[in-house]
Amino acid sequence: MSDKEKAGKAAAGAALAGVPAEPGAPKADAILSATGVRRAFGGLVAVDVEHVEIQRGTITALIGPNGAGKTTFFNLLTGFDRPSRGSWDFDGRRADRMRSFQVARAGMVRTFQLTKALTRMSVLDNMLIGAADQVGERMWAGLVPRLWRGQEAANRERALVLLERFKLIDKREHYAGELSGGQRKLLEMARALMLEPKMIMLDEPMAGVNPALKQSLLEHIKDLREDGMTVLFVEHDMDMVHEIADWVAVMAAGQLITEGTPDQISADQRVIDAYLGAHHDAAQH
Protein backbone atom coordinates (compact mmCIF):
# COMPACT_ATOMS: atom_id res chain seq x y z
CA MET A 1 0.00 0.00 0.00
CA SER A 2 1.49 3.31 -1.05
CA ASP A 3 1.70 6.23 1.32
CA LYS A 4 -0.70 8.17 -0.81
CA GLU A 5 -3.20 5.38 -0.67
CA LYS A 6 -2.80 5.03 3.10
CA ALA A 7 -3.41 8.72 3.46
CA GLY A 8 -6.48 8.56 1.23
CA LYS A 9 -7.91 5.61 3.06
CA ALA A 10 -7.24 7.24 6.41
CA ALA A 11 -8.89 10.48 5.33
CA ALA A 12 -11.95 8.61 4.08
CA GLY A 13 -12.04 6.59 7.27
CA ALA A 14 -11.84 9.74 9.37
CA ALA A 15 -14.65 11.38 7.40
CA LEU A 16 -16.86 8.37 8.04
CA ALA A 17 -15.83 7.79 11.65
CA GLY A 18 -18.76 7.92 13.98
CA VAL A 19 -21.34 7.56 11.22
CA PRO A 20 -23.84 5.01 12.55
CA ALA A 21 -24.34 1.85 10.51
CA GLU A 22 -28.00 2.40 9.74
CA PRO A 23 -29.88 3.30 6.55
CA GLY A 24 -29.97 7.01 5.83
CA ALA A 25 -27.20 7.84 8.29
CA PRO A 26 -26.17 11.52 7.99
CA LYS A 27 -22.61 12.23 6.77
CA ALA A 28 -20.28 15.03 7.81
CA ASP A 29 -19.87 16.38 4.27
CA ALA A 30 -22.32 14.78 1.87
CA ILE A 31 -21.75 15.47 -1.83
CA LEU A 32 -25.03 13.75 -2.63
CA SER A 33 -28.09 13.74 -0.44
CA ALA A 34 -31.34 12.16 -1.59
CA THR A 35 -34.71 12.03 0.15
CA GLY A 36 -37.90 10.12 -0.57
CA VAL A 37 -36.85 8.81 -3.97
CA ARG A 38 -39.41 6.47 -5.41
CA ARG A 39 -39.79 4.95 -8.84
CA ALA A 40 -42.55 2.55 -9.73
CA PHE A 41 -42.92 0.66 -12.99
CA GLY A 42 -46.64 0.04 -13.02
CA GLY A 43 -47.27 -1.93 -9.85
CA LEU A 44 -43.60 -2.75 -9.25
CA VAL A 45 -41.80 -0.38 -6.92
CA ALA A 46 -38.24 -0.58 -8.25
CA VAL A 47 -36.79 2.11 -5.98
CA ASP A 48 -38.09 3.46 -2.71
CA VAL A 49 -35.21 5.07 -0.83
CA GLU A 50 -36.17 7.16 2.18
CA HIS A 51 -32.90 8.94 2.67
CA VAL A 52 -29.29 8.45 1.68
CA GLU A 53 -26.16 10.56 1.83
CA ILE A 54 -22.83 9.95 0.13
CA GLN A 55 -19.73 11.24 1.87
CA ARG A 56 -17.49 13.41 -0.30
CA GLY A 57 -14.08 11.98 -1.17
CA THR A 58 -14.89 8.38 -0.31
CA ILE A 59 -15.48 5.20 -2.23
CA THR A 60 -18.97 3.94 -1.56
CA ALA A 61 -20.17 0.58 -2.81
CA LEU A 62 -23.81 0.03 -3.63
CA ILE A 63 -24.64 -3.64 -3.34
CA GLY A 64 -27.76 -5.75 -3.42
CA PRO A 65 -29.23 -8.79 -5.13
CA ASN A 66 -30.26 -8.76 -8.79
CA GLY A 67 -33.29 -6.59 -9.34
CA ALA A 68 -32.74 -4.67 -6.11
CA GLY A 69 -33.07 -1.37 -7.95
CA LYS A 70 -29.42 -0.28 -8.05
CA THR A 71 -29.34 0.55 -11.74
CA THR A 72 -32.72 2.21 -11.56
CA PHE A 73 -31.46 4.35 -8.67
CA PHE A 74 -28.42 5.34 -10.76
CA ASN A 75 -30.70 6.21 -13.65
CA LEU A 76 -32.81 8.44 -11.42
CA LEU A 77 -29.89 10.24 -9.83
CA THR A 78 -28.26 10.94 -13.18
CA GLY A 79 -31.42 12.15 -14.91
CA PHE A 80 -31.82 9.16 -17.22
CA ASP A 81 -35.13 8.31 -15.61
CA ARG A 82 -37.71 10.39 -13.76
CA PRO A 83 -38.80 9.46 -10.23
CA SER A 84 -42.42 9.16 -9.22
CA ARG A 85 -41.36 11.45 -6.39
CA GLY A 86 -38.28 12.45 -4.42
CA SER A 87 -35.60 15.08 -4.45
CA TRP A 88 -31.84 15.26 -4.13
CA ASP A 89 -28.98 17.70 -3.94
CA PHE A 90 -25.66 17.23 -5.63
CA ASP A 91 -22.71 19.31 -4.52
CA GLY A 92 -25.01 21.88 -2.93
CA ARG A 93 -27.35 22.17 -5.92
CA ARG A 94 -30.82 20.80 -6.34
CA ALA A 95 -30.36 18.09 -8.94
CA ASP A 96 -33.64 16.22 -9.29
CA ARG A 97 -34.97 18.59 -11.94
CA MET A 98 -31.82 18.52 -14.01
CA ARG A 99 -31.71 16.79 -17.36
CA SER A 100 -29.15 14.03 -17.78
CA PHE A 101 -26.61 16.16 -19.61
CA GLN A 102 -26.89 18.89 -16.99
CA VAL A 103 -26.22 16.35 -14.26
CA ALA A 104 -23.05 15.33 -16.07
CA ARG A 105 -22.02 18.96 -16.46
CA ALA A 106 -22.63 19.55 -12.77
CA GLY A 107 -19.97 16.92 -12.11
CA MET A 108 -21.86 13.67 -11.57
CA VAL A 109 -20.90 11.31 -14.37
CA ARG A 110 -22.07 7.75 -14.70
CA THR A 111 -21.19 4.64 -16.66
CA PHE A 112 -23.65 2.01 -17.79
CA GLN A 113 -24.07 -1.57 -16.71
CA LEU A 114 -24.58 -2.48 -20.37
CA THR A 115 -21.65 -0.67 -21.87
CA LYS A 116 -22.28 2.06 -24.37
CA ALA A 117 -19.22 2.23 -26.56
CA LEU A 118 -19.62 4.43 -29.63
CA THR A 119 -18.85 1.50 -31.90
CA ARG A 120 -18.24 3.14 -35.27
CA MET A 121 -15.86 5.70 -33.83
CA SER A 122 -12.24 5.25 -32.90
CA VAL A 123 -11.26 4.61 -29.31
CA LEU A 124 -9.54 7.98 -29.27
CA ASP A 125 -12.65 9.73 -30.57
CA ASN A 126 -14.65 7.98 -27.87
CA MET A 127 -12.32 9.60 -25.37
CA LEU A 128 -12.24 13.03 -26.98
CA ILE A 129 -16.00 13.31 -27.12
CA GLY A 130 -15.96 13.07 -23.33
CA ALA A 131 -14.02 16.28 -22.75
CA ALA A 132 -16.14 19.08 -21.32
CA ASP A 133 -16.60 22.67 -22.53
CA GLN A 134 -15.25 22.15 -26.03
CA VAL A 135 -15.21 25.31 -28.11
CA GLY A 136 -15.34 23.29 -31.32
CA GLU A 137 -18.63 21.72 -30.31
CA ARG A 138 -20.38 24.93 -31.19
CA MET A 139 -21.49 24.56 -34.77
CA TRP A 140 -20.03 27.83 -36.02
CA ALA A 141 -16.76 27.39 -34.17
CA GLY A 142 -16.50 23.95 -35.75
CA LEU A 143 -16.00 25.74 -39.08
CA VAL A 144 -12.91 27.53 -37.83
CA PRO A 145 -10.35 24.94 -36.72
CA ARG A 146 -8.06 27.69 -35.46
CA LEU A 147 -10.49 28.29 -32.62
CA TRP A 148 -10.36 24.78 -31.22
CA ARG A 149 -7.10 23.17 -32.34
CA GLY A 150 -5.28 24.11 -29.16
CA GLN A 151 -7.95 22.78 -26.87
CA GLU A 152 -8.22 19.64 -28.97
CA ALA A 153 -4.51 18.99 -28.66
CA ALA A 154 -4.67 19.38 -24.87
CA ASN A 155 -7.65 17.02 -24.69
CA ARG A 156 -5.78 14.53 -26.83
CA GLU A 157 -2.86 14.62 -24.41
CA ARG A 158 -5.18 13.90 -21.53
CA ALA A 159 -6.94 11.14 -23.46
CA LEU A 160 -3.66 9.43 -24.25
CA VAL A 161 -2.60 9.51 -20.61
CA LEU A 162 -5.88 7.91 -19.59
CA LEU A 163 -5.71 5.32 -22.37
CA GLU A 164 -2.23 4.44 -21.23
CA ARG A 165 -3.49 4.00 -17.69
CA PHE A 166 -6.35 1.80 -18.85
CA LYS A 167 -4.15 -0.33 -21.12
CA LEU A 168 -5.99 0.78 -24.24
CA ILE A 169 -3.25 2.90 -25.75
CA ASP A 170 -2.46 0.34 -28.48
CA LYS A 171 -6.10 0.35 -29.48
CA ARG A 172 -6.46 4.11 -29.86
CA GLU A 173 -6.92 4.08 -33.62
CA HIS A 174 -9.20 1.04 -33.62
CA TYR A 175 -12.95 1.28 -33.76
CA ALA A 176 -14.53 0.94 -30.34
CA GLY A 177 -16.67 -1.77 -31.95
CA GLU A 178 -13.54 -3.89 -32.26
CA LEU A 179 -12.98 -3.95 -28.50
CA SER A 180 -13.84 -6.90 -26.29
CA GLY A 181 -16.52 -6.60 -23.64
CA GLY A 182 -14.02 -5.99 -20.86
CA GLN A 183 -12.13 -3.43 -22.92
CA ARG A 184 -15.35 -1.57 -23.53
CA LYS A 185 -15.89 -1.37 -19.77
CA LEU A 186 -12.44 0.12 -19.43
CA LEU A 187 -13.04 2.55 -22.27
CA GLU A 188 -16.30 3.70 -20.77
CA MET A 189 -14.67 4.39 -17.43
CA ALA A 190 -11.75 6.20 -19.03
CA ARG A 191 -14.17 8.24 -21.13
CA ALA A 192 -16.15 9.28 -18.07
CA LEU A 193 -12.91 10.49 -16.52
CA MET A 194 -12.35 12.79 -19.51
CA LEU A 195 -15.06 15.00 -17.98
CA GLU A 196 -13.04 15.37 -14.79
CA PRO A 197 -16.12 14.68 -12.67
CA LYS A 198 -16.53 15.45 -8.99
CA MET A 199 -18.35 12.21 -8.52
CA ILE A 200 -18.23 9.14 -10.69
CA MET A 201 -20.93 6.51 -10.61
CA LEU A 202 -19.82 3.16 -11.96
CA ASP A 203 -22.41 0.47 -12.65
CA GLU A 204 -20.56 -2.83 -12.31
CA PRO A 205 -17.26 -1.57 -13.69
CA MET A 206 -15.49 -4.86 -13.06
CA ALA A 207 -17.96 -7.18 -14.74
CA GLY A 208 -16.14 -9.10 -17.44
CA VAL A 209 -12.72 -7.65 -16.68
CA ASN A 210 -9.95 -10.22 -16.18
CA PRO A 211 -8.52 -10.62 -12.65
CA ALA A 212 -5.11 -9.07 -13.36
CA LEU A 213 -6.65 -6.01 -14.93
CA LYS A 214 -9.27 -5.92 -12.21
CA GLN A 215 -6.51 -5.45 -9.71
CA SER A 216 -5.10 -2.50 -11.60
CA LEU A 217 -8.60 -1.09 -12.04
CA LEU A 218 -9.01 -1.21 -8.29
CA GLU A 219 -5.84 0.81 -7.98
CA HIS A 220 -7.23 3.35 -10.46
CA ILE A 221 -10.40 3.68 -8.47
CA LYS A 222 -8.40 4.29 -5.31
CA ASP A 223 -6.35 6.86 -7.20
CA LEU A 224 -9.56 8.66 -8.09
CA ARG A 225 -10.35 8.97 -4.41
CA GLU A 226 -6.83 10.17 -3.72
CA ASP A 227 -7.37 12.80 -6.43
CA GLY A 228 -10.38 14.04 -4.44
CA MET A 229 -13.12 12.40 -6.47
CA THR A 230 -16.12 10.70 -4.91
CA VAL A 231 -16.82 7.22 -6.21
CA LEU A 232 -20.11 5.35 -6.03
CA PHE A 233 -20.03 1.95 -7.62
CA VAL A 234 -22.24 -1.08 -7.97
CA GLU A 235 -20.50 -4.40 -7.46
CA HIS A 236 -21.56 -7.95 -6.75
CA ASP A 237 -18.15 -9.30 -5.73
CA MET A 238 -17.84 -8.84 -1.97
CA ASP A 239 -14.07 -9.37 -1.97
CA MET A 240 -13.76 -6.44 -4.30
CA VAL A 241 -16.03 -4.35 -2.13
CA HIS A 242 -13.95 -5.22 0.91
CA GLU A 243 -10.78 -4.28 -0.81
CA ILE A 244 -11.66 -0.77 -1.92
CA ALA A 245 -14.90 0.48 -0.42
CA ASP A 246 -14.80 2.86 2.52
CA TRP A 247 -18.53 2.55 2.95
CA VAL A 248 -21.20 0.18 1.72
CA ALA A 249 -24.89 0.82 1.08
CA VAL A 250 -27.16 -2.17 0.63
CA MET A 251 -30.33 -2.17 -1.42
CA ALA A 252 -32.95 -4.89 -1.56
CA ALA A 253 -36.34 -4.80 -3.24
CA GLY A 254 -35.92 -1.10 -3.95
CA GLN A 255 -35.13 -0.07 -0.39
CA LEU A 256 -31.96 0.93 1.31
CA ILE A 257 -31.84 -1.73 3.98
CA THR A 258 -28.60 -0.82 5.65
CA GLU A 259 -25.26 0.88 5.29
CA GLY A 260 -21.94 0.75 7.07
CA THR A 261 -18.28 -0.13 6.70
CA PRO A 262 -17.52 -3.30 4.73
CA ASP A 263 -16.86 -5.20 7.97
CA GLN A 264 -20.11 -4.10 9.54
CA ILE A 265 -22.00 -5.06 6.39
CA SER A 266 -20.56 -8.56 6.15
CA ALA A 267 -21.67 -9.22 9.68
CA ASP A 268 -25.17 -7.86 9.15
CA GLN A 269 -27.94 -10.48 9.25
CA ARG A 270 -30.26 -8.29 7.13
CA VAL A 271 -27.78 -8.37 4.28
CA ILE A 272 -27.45 -12.11 4.41
CA ASP A 273 -31.22 -12.42 4.47
CA ALA A 274 -31.55 -10.07 1.53
CA TYR A 275 -29.15 -12.09 -0.57
CA LEU A 276 -30.74 -15.36 0.42
CA GLY A 277 -34.19 -14.04 -0.37
CA ALA A 278 -35.81 -13.77 3.07
CA HIS A 279 -36.22 -10.02 2.84
CA HIS A 280 -37.34 -10.20 -0.74
CA ASP A 281 -40.14 -12.61 0.15
CA ALA A 282 -41.25 -10.45 3.05
CA ALA A 283 -41.38 -7.39 0.83
CA GLN A 284 -43.79 -8.99 -1.57
CA HIS A 285 -46.65 -8.83 0.92
Binding site: A132, E137, M139, G142
Partner: protein, 347 residues
Protein backbone atom coordinates in the same frame (compact mmCIF):
# COMPACT_ATOMS: atom_id res chain seq x y z
CA UNK B 1 -27.90 2.63 -83.27
CA UNK B 2 -25.82 5.44 -81.94
CA UNK B 3 -24.15 4.30 -78.72
CA UNK B 4 -21.89 7.28 -78.73
CA UNK B 5 -24.90 9.58 -78.62
CA UNK B 6 -26.59 7.58 -75.86
CA UNK B 7 -23.44 7.60 -73.80
CA UNK B 8 -22.87 11.32 -74.38
CA UNK B 9 -26.43 12.05 -73.31
CA UNK B 10 -26.13 9.98 -70.15
CA UNK B 11 -22.84 11.61 -69.27
CA UNK B 12 -24.31 15.04 -69.91
CA UNK B 13 -27.03 14.23 -67.42
CA UNK B 14 -24.64 12.65 -64.92
CA UNK B 15 -23.14 16.02 -64.06
CA UNK B 16 -26.10 18.12 -65.14
CA UNK B 17 -28.75 20.18 -63.34
CA UNK B 18 -30.97 17.32 -62.15
CA UNK B 19 -28.01 15.43 -60.77
CA UNK B 20 -27.08 18.54 -58.79
CA UNK B 21 -30.56 18.62 -57.28
CA UNK B 22 -30.18 15.01 -56.15
CA UNK B 23 -26.70 15.66 -54.86
CA UNK B 24 -27.80 18.64 -52.76
CA UNK B 25 -30.85 16.88 -51.34
CA UNK B 26 -28.70 13.91 -50.42
CA UNK B 27 -25.97 16.07 -48.86
CA UNK B 28 -28.60 17.43 -46.47
CA UNK B 29 -29.75 13.91 -45.71
CA UNK B 30 -26.17 12.82 -45.22
CA UNK B 31 -25.79 15.27 -42.36
CA UNK B 32 -29.06 14.15 -40.81
CA UNK B 33 -29.04 10.44 -41.52
CA UNK B 34 -25.44 9.60 -42.41
CA UNK B 35 -23.76 11.45 -39.57
CA UNK B 36 -26.45 11.99 -36.92
CA UNK B 37 -28.70 8.99 -37.53
CA UNK B 38 -31.83 11.11 -37.89
CA UNK B 39 -34.42 9.44 -40.09
CA UNK B 40 -35.77 12.35 -42.08
CA UNK B 41 -38.25 10.93 -44.57
CA UNK B 42 -39.49 14.36 -45.53
CA UNK B 43 -36.55 15.81 -47.41
CA UNK B 44 -38.91 16.37 -50.36
CA UNK B 45 -40.89 18.74 -48.15
CA UNK B 46 -37.77 20.73 -47.31
CA UNK B 47 -37.12 21.01 -51.04
CA UNK B 48 -40.74 22.09 -51.47
CA UNK B 49 -40.21 24.77 -48.81
CA UNK B 50 -37.38 26.19 -50.87
CA UNK B 51 -39.17 25.90 -54.19
CA UNK B 52 -42.51 27.26 -53.02
CA UNK B 53 -40.92 29.85 -50.76
CA UNK B 54 -39.16 31.25 -53.80
CA UNK B 55 -42.06 30.93 -56.23
CA UNK B 56 -44.67 32.40 -53.90
CA UNK B 57 -42.44 35.30 -52.92
CA UNK B 58 -41.65 36.27 -56.48
CA UNK B 59 -44.90 35.47 -58.25
CA UNK B 60 -47.63 35.88 -55.66
CA UNK B 61 -46.14 38.55 -53.43
CA UNK B 62 -44.07 40.37 -56.03
CA UNK B 63 -40.94 40.35 -53.88
CA UNK B 64 -37.41 40.51 -55.30
CA UNK B 65 -35.66 37.24 -56.15
CA UNK B 66 -33.26 37.37 -53.18
CA UNK B 67 -36.15 37.84 -50.79
CA UNK B 68 -37.61 34.68 -52.26
CA UNK B 69 -34.39 32.81 -51.48
CA UNK B 70 -34.39 34.13 -47.92
CA UNK B 71 -38.04 33.23 -47.41
CA UNK B 72 -37.45 29.74 -48.82
CA UNK B 73 -34.57 29.18 -46.40
CA UNK B 74 -36.57 30.58 -43.49
CA UNK B 75 -39.48 28.29 -44.34
CA UNK B 76 -37.16 25.28 -44.21
CA UNK B 77 -35.81 26.38 -40.82
CA UNK B 78 -39.33 26.84 -39.44
CA UNK B 79 -40.35 23.44 -40.70
CA UNK B 80 -37.29 21.78 -39.16
CA UNK B 81 -38.11 23.41 -35.82
CA UNK B 82 -41.77 22.44 -36.00
CA UNK B 83 -40.92 18.84 -36.81
CA UNK B 84 -37.97 18.60 -34.45
CA UNK B 85 -39.31 20.12 -31.25
CA UNK B 86 -41.92 17.44 -30.58
CA UNK B 87 -39.95 14.47 -31.92
CA UNK B 88 -36.23 14.83 -31.32
CA UNK B 89 -36.53 13.96 -27.64
CA UNK B 90 -38.29 10.74 -28.57
CA UNK B 91 -36.97 7.60 -30.21
CA UNK B 92 -35.64 7.84 -33.76
CA UNK B 93 -38.71 6.34 -35.40
CA UNK B 94 -40.94 9.21 -34.30
CA UNK B 95 -39.09 11.67 -36.48
CA UNK B 96 -39.41 9.27 -39.40
CA UNK B 97 -43.18 9.02 -39.02
CA UNK B 98 -43.69 12.73 -38.45
CA UNK B 99 -41.52 13.81 -41.38
CA UNK B 100 -43.16 11.41 -43.81
CA UNK B 101 -46.59 12.67 -42.75
CA UNK B 102 -45.55 16.31 -42.82
CA UNK B 103 -44.19 15.95 -46.34
CA UNK B 104 -47.50 14.55 -47.50
CA UNK B 105 -49.41 17.34 -45.76
CA UNK B 106 -47.23 19.97 -47.42
CA UNK B 107 -47.76 18.45 -50.82
CA UNK B 108 -51.53 18.30 -50.35
CA UNK B 109 -51.64 21.86 -49.10
CA UNK B 110 -49.68 22.92 -52.15
CA UNK B 111 -52.13 21.27 -54.51
CA UNK B 112 -55.27 22.21 -52.56
CA UNK B 113 -57.89 24.08 -54.56
CA UNK B 114 -58.76 26.58 -51.80
CA UNK B 115 -55.87 28.84 -52.60
CA UNK B 116 -55.06 27.65 -56.08
CA UNK B 117 -55.35 31.26 -57.29
CA UNK B 118 -52.11 31.85 -55.43
CA UNK B 119 -50.34 28.49 -55.54
CA UNK B 120 -51.63 27.25 -58.85
CA UNK B 121 -53.04 24.13 -57.19
CA UNK B 122 -51.98 20.91 -58.88
CA UNK B 123 -50.71 22.87 -61.90
CA UNK B 124 -48.05 24.52 -59.77
CA UNK B 125 -46.35 27.80 -60.51
CA UNK B 126 -44.07 29.36 -63.09
CA UNK B 127 -42.67 32.76 -63.90
CA UNK B 128 -40.30 33.11 -60.95
CA UNK B 129 -37.04 32.18 -62.62
CA UNK B 130 -36.45 35.16 -64.94
CA UNK B 131 -34.51 37.22 -62.37
CA UNK B 132 -32.20 34.26 -61.86
CA UNK B 133 -31.40 33.88 -65.55
CA UNK B 134 -30.96 37.62 -65.91
CA UNK B 135 -27.93 37.16 -63.66
CA UNK B 136 -26.08 35.15 -66.31
CA UNK B 137 -22.82 37.05 -66.73
CA UNK B 138 -22.19 36.06 -70.34
CA UNK B 139 -24.21 37.01 -73.42
CA UNK B 140 -26.41 34.74 -75.44
CA UNK B 141 -24.09 35.15 -78.38
CA UNK B 142 -20.77 34.69 -76.59
CA UNK B 143 -18.50 32.23 -78.34
CA UNK B 144 -15.09 30.99 -77.28
CA UNK B 145 -12.97 27.86 -77.02
CA UNK B 146 -10.58 26.78 -74.31
CA UNK B 147 -8.90 23.40 -74.81
CA UNK B 148 -11.81 20.96 -75.05
CA UNK B 149 -14.37 23.33 -73.54
CA UNK B 150 -16.14 25.69 -75.83
CA UNK B 151 -19.02 28.13 -75.79
CA UNK B 152 -21.09 28.46 -78.87
CA UNK B 153 -23.74 31.18 -78.84
CA UNK B 154 -24.06 31.00 -75.07
CA UNK B 155 -24.26 27.20 -74.98
CA UNK B 156 -21.58 25.18 -73.29
CA UNK B 157 -19.97 22.17 -74.94
CA UNK B 158 -17.33 19.85 -73.53
CA UNK B 159 -15.75 17.75 -76.24
CA UNK B 160 -13.94 14.57 -75.19
CA UNK B 161 -13.51 13.39 -78.77
CA UNK B 162 -15.53 10.18 -78.62
CA UNK B 163 -18.35 11.87 -76.74
CA UNK B 164 -19.52 15.39 -76.28
CA UNK B 165 -21.47 17.03 -73.46
CA UNK B 166 -23.75 19.90 -74.37
CA UNK B 167 -25.71 22.24 -72.19
CA UNK B 168 -28.20 24.94 -73.08
CA UNK B 169 -27.60 28.59 -72.19
CA UNK B 170 -29.76 28.30 -69.06
CA UNK B 171 -28.58 24.85 -68.02
CA UNK B 172 -25.02 26.10 -68.15
CA UNK B 173 -25.88 28.81 -65.67
CA UNK B 174 -27.72 26.32 -63.43
CA UNK B 175 -24.61 24.16 -63.49
CA UNK B 176 -22.23 26.98 -62.70
CA UNK B 177 -24.32 27.99 -59.71
CA UNK B 178 -25.20 24.39 -58.77
CA UNK B 179 -21.64 23.10 -58.80
CA UNK B 180 -20.43 26.14 -56.91
CA UNK B 181 -23.07 25.44 -54.25
CA UNK B 182 -22.27 21.73 -54.12
CA UNK B 183 -18.57 22.37 -53.69
CA UNK B 184 -19.13 25.14 -51.17
CA UNK B 185 -21.51 23.03 -49.11
CA UNK B 186 -19.23 20.00 -49.32
CA UNK B 187 -16.41 22.20 -48.05
CA UNK B 188 -18.50 23.37 -45.12
CA UNK B 189 -19.56 19.78 -44.42
CA UNK B 190 -15.95 18.59 -44.49
CA UNK B 191 -15.02 21.19 -41.90
CA UNK B 192 -18.05 20.44 -39.76
CA UNK B 193 -17.83 16.67 -39.70
CA UNK B 194 -14.15 16.77 -38.81
CA UNK B 195 -14.74 19.21 -35.97
CA UNK B 196 -15.69 18.36 -32.39
CA UNK B 197 -19.23 19.33 -33.40
CA UNK B 198 -19.27 16.60 -36.03
CA UNK B 199 -17.81 14.15 -33.54
CA UNK B 200 -20.78 14.72 -31.23
CA UNK B 201 -23.16 14.08 -34.14
CA UNK B 202 -21.47 10.77 -34.87
CA UNK B 203 -21.64 9.93 -31.19
CA UNK B 204 -25.38 10.60 -31.24
CA UNK B 205 -25.73 8.29 -34.21
CA UNK B 206 -23.95 5.55 -32.28
CA UNK B 207 -25.63 5.93 -28.92
CA UNK B 208 -27.32 9.10 -27.83
CA UNK B 209 -27.62 8.06 -24.18
CA UNK B 210 -23.87 7.65 -23.96
CA UNK B 211 -23.40 11.11 -25.41
CA UNK B 212 -25.93 12.53 -22.96
CA UNK B 213 -24.07 10.90 -20.09
CA UNK B 214 -21.03 12.89 -21.21
CA UNK B 215 -22.82 16.20 -20.68
CA UNK B 216 -23.85 17.00 -24.25
CA UNK B 217 -27.20 18.57 -24.99
CA UNK B 218 -28.18 15.93 -27.52
CA UNK B 219 -31.46 17.61 -28.40
CA UNK B 220 -29.70 20.82 -29.44
CA UNK B 221 -27.19 18.96 -31.61
CA UNK B 222 -29.92 16.96 -33.31
CA UNK B 223 -31.88 20.12 -33.94
CA UNK B 224 -28.88 21.81 -35.51
CA UNK B 225 -28.37 18.84 -37.81
CA UNK B 226 -32.04 18.75 -38.75
CA UNK B 227 -32.14 22.49 -39.46
CA UNK B 228 -28.91 22.62 -41.43
CA UNK B 229 -29.78 19.48 -43.41
CA UNK B 230 -33.19 20.98 -44.11
CA UNK B 231 -31.62 24.21 -45.33
CA UNK B 232 -29.54 22.22 -47.79
CA UNK B 233 -32.76 20.47 -48.84
CA UNK B 234 -34.30 23.88 -49.51
CA UNK B 235 -31.28 24.79 -51.66
CA UNK B 236 -31.94 21.61 -53.64
CA UNK B 237 -35.50 22.87 -54.01
CA UNK B 238 -34.35 26.22 -55.39
CA UNK B 239 -32.17 24.54 -57.97
CA UNK B 240 -34.93 22.09 -58.87
CA UNK B 241 -37.45 24.89 -59.37
CA UNK B 242 -35.06 27.10 -61.32
CA UNK B 243 -33.76 24.33 -63.55
CA UNK B 244 -37.30 23.53 -64.67
CA UNK B 245 -38.54 27.13 -64.46
CA UNK B 246 -41.71 25.77 -62.90
CA UNK B 247 -42.83 23.82 -59.88
CA UNK B 248 -45.52 21.21 -59.49
CA UNK B 249 -46.68 19.91 -56.13
CA UNK B 250 -46.70 16.31 -57.29
CA UNK B 251 -42.97 16.26 -57.90
CA UNK B 252 -42.50 16.58 -54.14
CA UNK B 253 -43.77 13.14 -53.25
CA UNK B 254 -42.09 10.70 -50.90
CA UNK B 255 -40.49 9.13 -53.99
CA UNK B 256 -38.39 12.25 -54.28
CA UNK B 257 -37.12 11.72 -50.74
CA UNK B 258 -36.39 8.08 -51.48
CA UNK B 259 -34.29 9.01 -54.50
CA UNK B 260 -32.21 11.13 -52.15
CA UNK B 261 -31.78 8.07 -49.96
CA UNK B 262 -30.87 5.92 -52.95
CA UNK B 263 -28.28 8.48 -53.96
CA UNK B 264 -26.89 8.64 -50.43
CA UNK B 265 -26.64 4.88 -49.99
CA UNK B 266 -25.25 4.40 -53.49
CA UNK B 267 -22.49 6.92 -52.92
CA UNK B 268 -21.78 6.00 -49.32
CA UNK B 269 -23.33 7.53 -46.21
CA UNK B 270 -21.21 9.47 -43.74
CA UNK B 271 -18.73 10.42 -46.48
CA UNK B 272 -18.56 14.05 -47.54
CA UNK B 273 -18.53 13.34 -51.28
CA UNK B 274 -20.69 10.22 -51.10
CA UNK B 275 -23.88 12.02 -52.15
CA UNK B 276 -22.16 13.73 -55.08
CA UNK B 277 -20.76 10.49 -56.46
CA UNK B 278 -24.01 8.70 -55.72
CA UNK B 279 -26.04 11.33 -57.55
CA UNK B 280 -23.77 11.17 -60.57
CA UNK B 281 -23.89 7.38 -60.73
CA UNK B 282 -27.63 7.17 -60.10
CA UNK B 283 -28.49 9.71 -62.73
CA UNK B 284 -26.02 8.25 -65.19
CA UNK B 285 -27.46 4.77 -64.80
CA UNK B 286 -31.01 6.04 -65.04
CA UNK B 287 -30.25 7.91 -68.24
CA UNK B 288 -28.12 5.30 -69.92
CA UNK B 289 -30.75 2.65 -69.23
CA UNK B 290 -33.73 4.67 -70.39
CA UNK B 291 -32.03 6.24 -73.36
CA UNK B 292 -30.19 3.05 -74.29
CA UNK B 293 -33.35 0.95 -74.20
CA UNK B 294 -35.27 3.64 -76.06
CA UNK B 295 -32.61 3.83 -78.70
CA UNK B 296 -32.46 0.06 -78.99
CA UNK B 297 -36.21 -0.11 -79.59
CA UNK B 298 -36.09 2.70 -82.12
CA UNK B 299 -33.26 0.98 -83.98
CA UNK B 300 -35.18 -2.32 -83.84
CA UNK B 301 -32.40 -4.01 -81.90
CA UNK B 302 -35.08 -4.96 -79.39
CA UNK B 303 -38.28 -5.96 -81.22
CA UNK B 304 -41.60 -4.53 -79.94
CA UNK B 305 -42.76 -8.04 -79.05
CA UNK B 306 -40.10 -8.11 -76.33
CA UNK B 307 -40.27 -4.54 -75.09
CA UNK B 308 -42.37 -1.56 -76.03
CA UNK B 309 -41.48 2.09 -75.62
CA UNK B 310 -44.07 2.61 -72.89
CA UNK B 311 -42.53 -0.20 -70.84
CA UNK B 312 -39.08 1.33 -70.75
CA UNK B 313 -39.81 3.62 -67.78
CA UNK B 314 -41.07 0.90 -65.45
CA UNK B 315 -38.35 -1.50 -66.59
CA UNK B 316 -35.63 1.03 -65.81
CA UNK B 317 -36.93 1.47 -62.28
CA UNK B 318 -37.14 -2.27 -61.91
CA UNK B 319 -33.53 -2.63 -62.99
CA UNK B 320 -32.40 0.19 -60.71
CA UNK B 321 -34.26 -1.44 -57.83
CA UNK B 322 -32.57 -4.74 -58.57
CA UNK B 323 -29.24 -2.98 -58.78
CA UNK B 324 -29.90 -1.40 -55.39
CA UNK B 325 -30.62 -4.80 -53.85
CA UNK B 326 -27.43 -6.24 -55.30
CA UNK B 327 -25.50 -3.23 -54.04
CA UNK B 328 -26.82 -3.72 -50.54
CA UNK B 329 -25.79 -7.36 -50.66
CA UNK B 330 -22.36 -7.01 -52.20
CA UNK B 331 -21.31 -3.49 -51.38
CA UNK B 332 -23.49 -2.22 -48.56
CA UNK B 333 -21.16 0.66 -47.86
CA UNK B 334 -21.81 2.22 -51.28
CA UNK B 335 -19.16 3.57 -53.62
CA UNK B 336 -16.87 5.19 -51.07
CA UNK B 337 -18.36 4.18 -47.74
CA UNK B 338 -16.38 2.34 -45.13
CA UNK B 339 -17.12 -1.36 -45.17
CA UNK B 340 -15.58 -1.91 -41.77
CA UNK B 341 -18.06 0.41 -40.11
CA UNK B 342 -20.89 -1.85 -41.19
CA UNK B 343 -19.46 -4.93 -39.56
CA UNK B 344 -20.24 -3.91 -36.00
CA UNK B 345 -23.60 -4.63 -34.57
CA UNK B 346 -25.26 -1.35 -33.79
CA UNK B 347 -28.14 -2.98 -31.88
Amino acid sequence: MDWQFVFSQALTQAIGPTMLVYALGAIGLNLQFGYTGLLNFGQAAFAAMGAYGLALSVVAWGLPFWWGILIGLAAAVVMALLLGIPTLRLRADYLAIVTIAAAEIIRRLARATVWSDTTGGSDGMRGFSEPFFELIPWDRDSTWTLLFVSMDNGRLAVDFGIFELQYSYRDTWIMVVGWALVLLICGVMALLVHSPWGRVLKGIREDEEAVRSLGKNVFAFKMQALVFGGIIGAVAGFLFALSRANIQPDTFTTDFTFYFYVVLILGGAARVFGPVLGAALFWFLYNILSQGLGEAIRADVIPPSVLEMTQVGPLVFLLLGLGMVLLLIFRPQGLIGNRKELLFDVR
